[in-house]
């Protein structure tokens, strides 16, 4: 049976709301869980982060989850989450409130970037779990979606009456649809789409290497159909990660936790990594 306590952590951006989940026999290690920028809250879609925090605590490792500044119950203001401006200070502030001598940090997407930045500044961190860590890459969301479409599905999708109406009246859509079908048929010579790539802070290889050198375990977790996995493959094709980095691939699409199955698989994967790091 775990105990949960809600509290606020002082930070430069305002008080951050956090929940500490403590197991029956707390040790001197704990895990800080950082959600994605999708909802900004410490519960995330369908309370997936709350369930993860409780299940990890059930195994004997205390957890802290928190709301980013400007979201949920936390104070401060926020316009939007940007992958080139991770909230490293939020993670550092919350980590400072945890009653433990060594810490594991886990983060999802935007949270993974923030956790990675914080881990470097926190010598007490001995394990980081980075779920759907975004890497800088020219691959866009649209590219990624088109790559996952089969030709017949692409044709079925673009020939729906509502879509056809829009394709006829919107030049950008017309270009994208034609380019997508061409690529699927192998007729396109080069990448036809010129949408801007996401701006992502490049904390990748140098930061991960620094953490490994000081003995911190680094785990990467991706859904095999996630955009973040595509950008990881693209990035590491020319900048390989050190071989000590463990990469776990979850079948399907886990980004945004948009299915109950993806939520379950991600929680199980994190539980496995936590147990292995003990």
């Amino acid at each position: 049976m775990i105990k949960e306590e809600a509290y606020f952590v002082a930070s430069t951006e305002g008080p951050l709301f956090a929940v500490l989940a403590t197991p029956d026999s707390p040790g001197d290690r704990a895990m800080v869980l950082a959600g994605g920028g999708w909802t900004g809250s410490s519960s995330n879609r369908n309370s997936v982060l709350v369930r993860m925090a409780r299940e990890v605590a059930d195994t004997g490792l205390g957890t802290v989850r928190f709301d980013w500044h400007g979201t949920g119950e936390s104070g401060g203001t926020l316009d939007r989450f940007r992958l080139d401006q991770p909230f490293v200070d939020d993670v550092i502030a919350v980590a400072g409130s945890v009653p433990a001598t060594t810490l594991a940090l886990a983060g999802i997407c935007f949270g993974a970037l923030s956790v990675l930045g914080a881990a470097v500044a926190l010598p007490e961190v001995d394990h980081v779990v980075l779920i759907s860590l975004p890497f800088p890459s020219p691959i866009t969301k649209t590219d990624h979606k088109l790559d996952r479409l089969t030709l017949d599905t692409a044709i079925r999708m673009v020939t729906r009456p509502a879509v056809l109406r829009q394709v006829v009246t919107n030049r950008d859509l017309r270009t994208a649809a034609v380019a997508g079908v061409k690529r699927k048929m192998g007729l396109a010579r080069s990448r036809p789409l010129t949408l801007p790539a996401r701006s992502v802070t490049d904390l990748g290889v140098s930061t991960i290497t620094a953490l490994l050198e000081r003995g911190t375990r680094v785990d990467l977790v991706f859904g095999e159909q996630d955009l973040e996995y595509s950008t990881y493959l693209d990035y590491t094709a020319h900048t390989p990660l050190p071989p000590e980095v463990a990469v776990s691939i979850i079948p399907g699409d886990v980004s945004n936790f948009s299915t109950l199955e993806a939520q379950r698989r991600t929680i199980d994967t994190v539980l496995g990594l936590v147990n292995r790091a003990r």
Binding site: S41, S42, N46, S47, V50, G75, T153, R156, M157
Partner: protein
């Protein structure tokens, strides 16, 4: 938990309220000075709750500056609360009742959004004023609307074969539970809500009710106007409003907290605050 000042002049107190069947997460936002009234917020369901969350937080913080405390809570099965015992709306109604049980007497106003409006209507005493954002009037229509996201999701994930073949609501009743973009929709939720349809004790002589539609047209729906007429005929004092909203309830998320004055959220919050202050005027 010791109250914490989150914005100047406004404190927040958070607790897990223990019930016989799990804990309910409750947040109380209140002014540092005297408290003259209370708003109880019943959140919508599923992805809609995430979409609406910051609006509810900000309304609470703004009302604190006007001398009101705001009580918000997470239904079991959502947010920080424990899992739902069965995924039905009866448990959500029980959570609302548990949350307000034992509170000190104060002039109380209720806010429910979407399915949360059904919860607020079921729990609030007829003497309390009630505001509903985007009221659910046709229960079957509401479920059909939210389940339609499954069809879009099937195409989005390039799995058109996963789209339901039969009527969406029939499918839910047959399968008993459906994974709707990562949220479980339980057939019990539909069946229990259907049972409540048309039986809720909304109307009472002189009861103050505000129905605020949120839609693309920025005009009240026919069915909202119909409900307003029926309530007025029963002696309620009904105000019908609308705010133009283009955000879908089930797609995307709203994380940001800054609302410009032209933002629909800012207009909704201004309107809601104004209605509550007008309602509260005779009691202050």
């Amino acid at each position: 938990m010791t109250p914490v000042v989150v914005t100047p002049g406004t404190a927040v107190e958070i607790a897990f309220t223990v019930t016989s069947r799990g804990r309910v997460f409750v947040v109380r936002t209140f002014p540092m000075g005297d408290v003259s009234g209370r708003l109880v917020v019943c959140a919508p369901f599923g992805a809609e709750a995430a979409r609406n969350y910051q609006r509810e937080v900000h309304l609470g913080r703004r009302l604190a500056a006007d001398g009101f405390e705001t009580i918000r809570f997470h239904y079991r099965g959502a947010g920080q609360s424990d899992p739902s015992p069965d995924g039905g709306i009866d448990a959500m109604i029980e959570d609302a009742a548990t949350t307000v049980d034992g509170l000190t007497p104060l002039p109380t106003f209720w806010l429910g959004t979407r399915l949360g409006g059904v919860v607020a209507a079921a729990v609030s005493p007829p003497s309390d004023a009630l505001m509903i954002w985007d009221p659910v009037i046709d229960v079957e229509g509401y479920f059909r609307e939210i389940l339609r996201a499954r069809v879009f999701s099937a195409f989005k994930h390039a799995k058109p074969d996963a789209a339901p073949r039969s009527d969406l609501v029939t499918d839910l009743v047959r399968l008993r539970r459906i994974d709707l973009l990562g949220y479980e929709v339980n057939a019990l939720l539909y069946e229990q809500t259907r049972r409540l349809e048309g039986t809720q004790p909304l109307s009472a002589p002189d009861r103050k009710i505000a129905l605020i539609d949120l839609n693309r047209r920025g005009e009240p729906r026919e069915e909202t106007l119909g409900l307003a007429s029926a309530l007025e005929a029963a002696g309620c004092r009904v105000r019908t409003e609308s705010v133009e909203f283009r955000e879908p309830w089930w797609y995307g998320a709203r994380a940001g907290s800054a609302a410009s004055t032209n933002d629909p959220t800012a207009r909704l919050l201004d309107l809601s605050r104004q209605v509550i202050l007008e309602w509260a005027e005779p009691t202050r």
